[in-house]
Amino acid sequence: MFNTNGRTNKVLFFYLPITLMFMWTIFPIYWTINTAFKHEGDIIKRPLEYLPTSPTVENFVVAWNNVGFATFFKNSLIIGITTVFVVIILSTLSGYALTRYKFKGKGSFLLMLLSTQFIPRAMLIIPLFIIFKNMGLISNPLSLIITYTAVEIPFTTILMSGFISNIPRELEEAAAVDGCSKLQALRFVMFPLLLPGIVATAVFTFIYTWNEFLLALMLTNQQSKFTLPVGLSFMMGEFNVNYGALAAGSVIALVPAVILFAYAQKHLVSGMGGAVKG
């Protein structure tokens, strides 16, 4: 009954599920983009418009200029990129130490790293605020960069140590025989092999900083220093939601994440599979 027609099987068990999953994932994104290009009046109009009849970029202009997305975007970008750099360097080095060295209390150190992930962020807000206030860093992107780095480091360290442990120790030994110092071996031998892992860590960290709302709001007291997620929350009022500008803002916020994934995709796939094979 089911055996002969391979083509039917392929359609039934491959193309159909894939298409359904694709639709499921893509529909909200399509609807957001669709809404972003509609006039305010057309958004809630019945019957629904599946494509904007008279497309407009008005919502983007409102979000970018009136609501201040230009500034929020810049702030998010500075914080995101800097955090990613710091996290990558620190987590590569600490991941390397955790994998390659034996030291007293290594087990409990790892456990401690893991435990930090269980602390609810909301509990940290007031202590963090007081610390940064005393340092004069409230409304300064550095407060967010430091906090995000601290929040991300434990997980990314464990992640990186996993990637590093996949690279045979012999490669470094061979480099040492050829006259490389420890740092040179790390830079010229390990680094290129670790690239997929680094990309995975970078994407993970960037997405977290790009989406984080609570700390970004709490540690900032100046309008011009808010980040994108805080900006998006301005669109939802008590009696009215500015759907057009909200959708336009979401599309703006989506762009860097999409570009990042498009670029990082091939590294991500190989990163998930482990750094070195064979």
Binding site: I126, I130, G237
Partner: protein, 436 residues
């Protein structure tokens, strides 16, 4: 290796740049270029309200070149948490827009500056709605004034006046007329009324109950909640009776959007909400098709409204420039500024100086609300905002309880007893903590 060094140097440079560029993280007041700098926090920022505040601040800065006000907008859902953090860390703004229900807590935490003397010496004293000002004093522990209300809202019933006229039914002003209208206006493919059975229904239900009973206090002489008072039971039994007969069956899960859509798409003839939904109705109807009426009067002819439906300008006591902060507070509450703000947002000013302005005369719903607030017989009852679980009782016990009564799983008496018990328990816990 050299590249690694280069990257590190680059990061140092970026970090240095950020530090240099954003040195001033102060949220409080200070002086810059000999100017007094004030920081103002808006508790409900967004594309609608932010430009209004910015315009008012520009006007103020222009009028007062020695003062510079900086605007910081906060998203509505997180504004309270942000202010809580600021108070805990002693890093408050100079001035803020503060909801009335937050005043008792902020007063206990000793965060705000009393404004009684400032107001007494100001020409605003005779202009700002006395009921709202007194209410602000009554709800705080020490009886002082911690916020000058610049806008107020009021629950009203929106009615399809065109349908009422066609059917020859009286637009209700008493509760008997209301129940009668709900019945008479059902038919011809529409219902007389719609009940908010879903999220947020509890707030509206409470206001309707007090408007019917005319009870002026939330607690009786023995300190027990009046929620399960026989008058409230009587009202709710009549009210629930409407469900399914004179209201859509789907009302049991109705929240704001569905309820307003029901009215705006011609499914129901009356809906209870506040004047804030005017903008939605205006999009759907011509001006002569709908109007706002006050919640019906009690048996003895009084309007009863929930107090605290206002937003205030408050000054935090950590400010170093209290006089400048008062100047700004006074400016926002001037007839001109209040008129500008409230006309744009569609709410009711508290400054009686705006009464003569054209837009008030033309806005039927604002005029209706003004009449209720300016009526000397209007009673404002005071909900226990100070109870830490006031909100969660309404959200968790009352919203779901209403649905149980609507579906017939619980009687009105059982439901109101449960609600009253929760309020009493919370009040007892609060009194214990405050050692009353």
């Amino acid at each position: 290796m050299r590249n690694l060094l280069k990257i590190s140097a680059l990061i140092m440079l970026i970090a240095g740049g950020i530090l240099a560029g954003c040195g001033n993280g102060d949220s409080g007041s200070g002086s810059k270029d000999g100017k007094v700098k004030l920081v103002f926090w808006d508790e409900n920022a967004g594309p609608q309200r932010t430009p209004i505040w910015e315009e008012l601040i520009d006007r103020f800065n222009e009028e007062n070149p020695e003062i510079e006000v900086e605007y910081v907008g906060l998203p509505k859902d997180s504004a309270k948490a942000k202010l809580d953090t600021a108070i805990a860390a002693d890093d408050m703004p100079d001035v803020a827009s503060v909801q009335t229900s937050w005043l008792p807590e902020f007063a206990i935490r000793d965060a705000l500056l009393p404004l009684d003397d400032y107001l007494a010496d100001s020409e605003l004293n005779d202009l700002i709605n006395a009921g709202a000002v007194n209410f602000n004093k009554e709800i705080v522990n020490d009886g002082k004034l911690y916020g000058i209300p610049y806008t107020q809202n009021l629950d009203v019933i929106w009615v399809r006046s065109d349908w009422f006229n066609d059917a020859g039914v009286t637009i209700p002003s008493t509760w008997d007329e209301f129940f009668n209208a709900a019945e008479e206006m059902t038919g011809d493919g529409h219902y007389g009324y719609t009940i908010r059975g879903g999220a947020g229904g509890s707030f509206q239900l409470q206001r309707l109950m007090f408007a019917y009973s005319g009870l002026e206090n939330y607690f009786d002489e023995d300190g027990k909640s009046v929620i399960n008072h026989p008058k409230h039971v009587e009202f709710l039994e009549k009210y629930i009776e409407l469900y399914g007969k004179n209201t859509p069956k789907s009302d049991i899960t109705n929240d704001y959007k569905e309820m307003i859509a029901g009215f705006d798409t011609g499914v129901v003839a009356m809906v209870h909400h506040n004047i804030g939904s005017y903008g939605e109705h205006q999009k759907a109807f011509e001006a002569d098709q709908f109007e706002a009426i006050p919640l019906p009067k009690t048996e003895d002819g009084k309007y009863v409204a929930e107090g605290g439906n206002t937003i205030n300008v408050s000054i935090f006591n950590t400010t170093k420039n209290a006089d400048a902060a008062w100047k700004f507070t006074e400016f926002i509450n001037s007839a001109e500024s209040q008129s500008y703000w409230n006309e744009q947002v569609g709410q009711i000013p508290t400054n009686s100086g705006v009464l003569d302005m054209d837009w008030i005369k033309e806005a039927q719903h604002i005029k209706t609300a003004f009449e209720v607030y300016d009526n000397p017989d209007t009673v404002l009852y005071q909900p226990p905002f100070y109870l830490p679980d006031y909100r969660s009782i309404l959200d968790n016990i009352v919203d779901s309880g209403t649905q149980k009564v609507m579906s017939g799983d619980s009687s009105v008496q059982e439901f109101l007893d449960e609600w009253a018990k929760a309020v009493d328990a919370s009040e007892a816990k609060y009194n214990e903590a405050m050692k009353k």
